[in-house]
Symmetry: C2
Subunit: 134 residues, 2 copies
DNA sequence: TATCTTACCTACTAAAAGGTATGTATTGCT
DNA sequence: AGCAATACATACCTTTTAGTAGGTAAGATA
């Protein structure tokens, strides 16, 4: 398929881009963020912390984060199964930046909130119960 | 379609999530990053700075960034047309975090590079010519 | 008058990401 | 023997995002 040109594909690989690929995706940053808040979370706990994620996506996302060495998966050979997730060192390195994002996001959500208060109160409450109020 | 339940959809809106939505997407962070490096860039300059983006995506992405008040679009009524893009104040606020990401990414690219040197040299060069070596 | 330049626009198509629904494994408990 | 608990797996489908290929406008210049 369209073989001829650009066989080597020297698409620029910007560091920003590279980083984004590792933590992009709908849930990755949030999972890292929650893990940094809680330290260690079991699969089920994560699932309850992110009520809008399906088990398929949760598993898939966790796998990707693990492959990228951002989180550590520790499984206990028990029944029923028990698996714990926590941040790796590399993952920890990303927390300050996610914190910055969180701060920035919070600020701008509040700005927007001046127009539509009620809805936001409802929508942010789950997150706040995890993240703390500040 | 699946009307009954969850009519209000109080999907949690995490600040991290919110922020990610505003700068997620394949090119957004990179555009912001380049704009922070260069200050002001014309449409064509941006296009040349990100050689892998099509005009369709560039325009679309710029529009989204503008709607989100992250960049400022200044058009001169000349022919041929001239349009300049720069960071808004809100956009500027994101730079420290993108810088952090860039730093982190660079570090890990280099780590990986120990295995596959040549390819990376090639792939990072465009970005470095824009971003500087550090 | 034809051509050039710049900054777009617009169908249409392809690929990636995410969602739904259902199934599996193990073993302790009743 | 049957059920519950936990952490998944997998096939299939929908939505979102991105890419392709072409076109437009308008004045400046040859």
């Amino acid at each position: 398929m369209k073989s001829d040109l650009k066989q080597t594909e020297p698409t620029q690989l910007c560091a920003v881009d590279y980083a984004f690929k590792r933590i992009g995706g709908k849930y990755k940053a949030r999972i890292l963020w929650y893990l940094s808040m809680k330290g260690v979370l079991r699969y089920g706990e994560l699932s309850r912390t992110l009520p809008d994620i399906t088990t398929k996506m949760l598993t898939q996302t966790l796998r990707e984060l693990e492959e990228d060495n951002l989180i550590i998966r520790k499984m206990y050979h028990e029944v029923p199964p028990k698996v714990e997730y926590s941040l790796s060192e590399t993952g920890q390195e990303l927390i300050p930046f996610i914190a910055h994002l969180h701060h920035w996001g919070k600020k701008h959500i509040e700005k927007e909130a001046s127009t539509s208060q009620a809805i936001l109160d409802e929508r942010t409450k789950v997150c706040q119960s995890v993240c703390g109020t500040d």
